[in-house]
Amino acid sequence: MSTVTNRSLRSDQGDGFVRLTDSVVGVGMTVIGLSVLAIARVITGDTAAFGLNVFEWVALALAAAGLTVVALGVGSFLGTFETTPEERGTVGPALGFGGIAFAAGGLTASQTLGLPLVVSLPAALVAGLAVGGFVTLAREDLGTTLPAGGLALLVGALVLADVVTAGWTWAPEGFSVTFPGYMVIPVLAVVASLVACWAAVSARSGFGAAGRQSAAYFLVGLNAIGMLVVLATLILFIGVKGFGRATQGIVFDPLAFEFRWPFVMDGYNFRPDVANGVFPAVVGTVWLVIGAVLVGVPLAVGAAVFLSEYAERGRFTQLVEVATNGLWSTPSVVFGLFGYAFLVPRFGNTTSLLSGMLVLGFMLLPLVTITSREAIKAVPDEYRDASAALGVSQWETIRSVVVPTALPGIVTGVILGVGRIAGETAPILLVMAGGLRDDAPSVIGSFQFVARPPFVVNDALLQSAPALPYQLYATITAGVSGNEEFGWATAFVLLAVVLSFYAIGVGTRIYFRRRLQHE
């Protein structure tokens, strides 16, 4: 927002000061990157350079960053660096550092020294209160930097002095877990470098309100980046693991009109010498989506039109709103139980594709109702008024003005909703089942007319059918060993299907919103 003011406040500080704070942030980010790699075991304690292993390097870097942070604070306190700290610390950092000190003191007393709770709890309280009190009472520059730098120094020293090494273990009592040093060190390093960077960023803006803002924005921004990194890692990881198997043996020859994609176009044949595919599951998912859309979308759009165009706001609309939101948050497995009790006995007492379609349609209903209502609400009242002023009836207005204007929003809602239900497993587990198989359900070819009610029957609809998410679950329950590649490829295809729905949905929304704003 107003970064201009920050810059003008900081302009009177020396270049050296800014360079020091930036170096702390740089070192901190490097330490975090290395630690994350170490937690993921991409680099291990054996990774060494210049006679020191990776943990020792991290510790060295942490200690240096900690010293620099302390120097920044002391320099600010002595007036070497021009800053604008407050005379007293604030509550947030005091609670944070107090909490860290409480945990550290308590763990050292109870776990390392083996003292009983009566001794270790007071010790932890004393440590927490002392540090928290110091942060509150000391001038802000010292209160921020000393504990932050101290923490980094402490973690660095623990590793460098071989108190905590890669082979060190800690098994907390009561928990069936053993934390090894090679996991604890990176975690501690991440925490310590975050705190050190936070203090350095605050110092860079000269402490005070501006400093606290920069420091907070730094952490909040890092959190957002972290989320996106997790997302990208997940998708990339599945892509890397599954892409090869999923695209194995693709033949594409436009001249001979030949196109074969074995993984997507073959069934699961249970023969060891032939590669399996997911064709039946893909077809099943397509039918599921079509059925769910046919069930859910008309109901949802109808309800949205009625609620926003016809109904007066009152008890009834409130009830429907509560019901819609309730349906939205109803767990998918509960939908499955409902289908099991309500639909399965009525469709020949077996799991069936039709039940799956209906249940997923019911799940789609609230998703589309909510988004369609928002889209219809967003149509400006001027449109309706102009139409009414021309003498057009309410229904004609809805049909030729409101719904066409809201259509992009409705379509987006449908696409996003479909993306969501296409990946649902729990409901079809109970009502549709259908595991690994070789042939795809042929819905169109199975329609038959009979002379007794219900006159039209379709065996394919009344049998269980496979679907991509269920197939992945079936792969897990069938035992992953030896089948892992198949599972990764299934996950990849499922993710690609679902995410392309999402990408199209989000893309359409952005496109139409842009167009609306340019009008």
Partner: protein
């Protein structure tokens, strides 16, 4: 349109009664057909198809002769359908689980030993927590498992989600917001079974190898994975709440010389506090109902972790109980699974209604009506 004059026929003279009578008749026929169809479907009759065709015929007739009135009634029926579906879910779930509630009574929340407070037995002991042969079904381990995983999930999703919402709503420049927001939405799109797959083939063995847990899968992993899955819900709902705070309130604070961060902490967050807590509640609802990740990662043994707070222990959750046992369940056992469904449904419904009430209270407050 040719037909439109019937739709505003209410203003004409002679045609009023004719048109109205036609509308009424069509509506009655359609409504009656639908009711009969519903009744027949409930009684599991193949004849359902007859009234359904009748309803469709009535609707088609109405569409060509009384379009406006037909649309209004059909959209009304669609609206009612939402409520009816919710009603049916509650009725069928409860009806299927009543026998096991009657059979177990209060002991459905029982422990192996009787629960005594001051010598008064509140809940008699059940001996064995879950025994299909002895018809003993105590939901305590599952409720505990769901509770623990949900708490861990919200420790992950709550702070990170609210921070993410603050970033998108208040801090990020427009261009960054345009890319982060869809990214978070896509995170919501990853199917739960994919998370389950990752947890099963990747995280569980990893934790087993490096953290020395007794077996594959534990509540901590499930909690973190579910937290990651509930994160997008928290972010987008909390972001809505933050952006609904009127700009005039923020401007007032900025005009007094407060920094943006002070304004966020002092004005935006307190003003949208109820909306943000509604977001967290919805996230809790998501976490409680999450099924596949829990089913695949946990080993689904019906037992309480030892000791209770041991998050690295293995247990079962309400959702994974249903998903892992429905296949070989019948009779009372199946009804017990329905009872688990009822507990799930009721708690999630409660969360949903509370969060809606909290949210509407915030809206009224921001509009200055409370």
């Amino acid at each position: 349109m040719k037909l439109s004059n019937t739709s505003i026929a209410g203003f004409e003279g002679r045609s009023v009664t004719d048109a109205d009578r036609g509308v009424l008749l069509t509506g009655l026929v359609g409504g009656a057909c639908l009711l009969v169809a519903f009744g027949l479907f409930l009684s599991n009759s193949t004849l359902t198809v007859v009234p359904v065709s009748g309803f469709l015929a009535a609707t088609a007739y109405g569409w060509f002769n009384h379009q406006a009135a037909t649309v209004k009634s059909v959209t009304f029926l669609a609206t009612v359908a939402t409520t009816v579906i919710l009603g049916l879910i509650s009725i069928f779930l409860i009806a299927r689980s009543i026998p096991v509630f009657q059979h177990m009574g209060i002991r459905i929340f029982g422990l192996t030993e009787p629960v005594r407070v001051f010598g008064v037995t509140l809940i008699p002991g059940v001996g064995e927590l879950w025994s299909t042969s002895g018809d003993v079904y105590s939901l305590t381990p599952m409720i505990w498992g769901t509770l623990m995983t949900t708490v861990i999930a919200m420790l992950v999703a709550g702070p990170l989600g609210v921070a993410g919402a603050v970033f998108i709503a208040e801090i990020a420049p427009p261009t960054v917001r345009e890319s982060v927001k869809p990214g978070i939405e896509i995170l919501a799109g990853i199917p739960s079974i994919v998370y389950g797959w990752l947890g099963f083939v990747l995280i569980s063995p990893f934790v087993y190898d490096h953290l020395g847990t007794p077996g594959l899968g534990n509540m901590a992993i499930v909690g973190v994975v579910i937290g990651l899955m509930a994160l997008p819900t928290v972010v987008s709902v909390a972001e809505d709440a933050l952006t609904s705070v009127p700009n005039s309130m923020k401007d007032g604070s900025l005009a007094l010389g407060a920094t943006d961060w002070q304004t966020i902490k002092g004005i935006t967050m307190p003003a949208s506090f109820s909306g943000v807590s509604a977001a967290v509640l919805l996230g809790v609802g998501r976490a409680v109902g999450e099924t596949m990740a829990a089913t695949v990662i946990l080993s689904n043994v019906v037992q309480l972790p030892e000791p209770l707070y041991n998050v690295f222990g293995n247990t079962i959750s309400l959702t994974s109980l249903i998903a892992s046992q429905y296949g070989n369940a019948d009779g009372m056992h199946m009804q017990a699974l329905f009872a688990a469904g009822v507990v799930l449904f009721v708690s999630v419904m409660f969360l949903s209604i509370v969060s809606q009430a909290v949210e509407s209270r915030m809206k009224r407050k921001l509009e200055g009506q409370a």
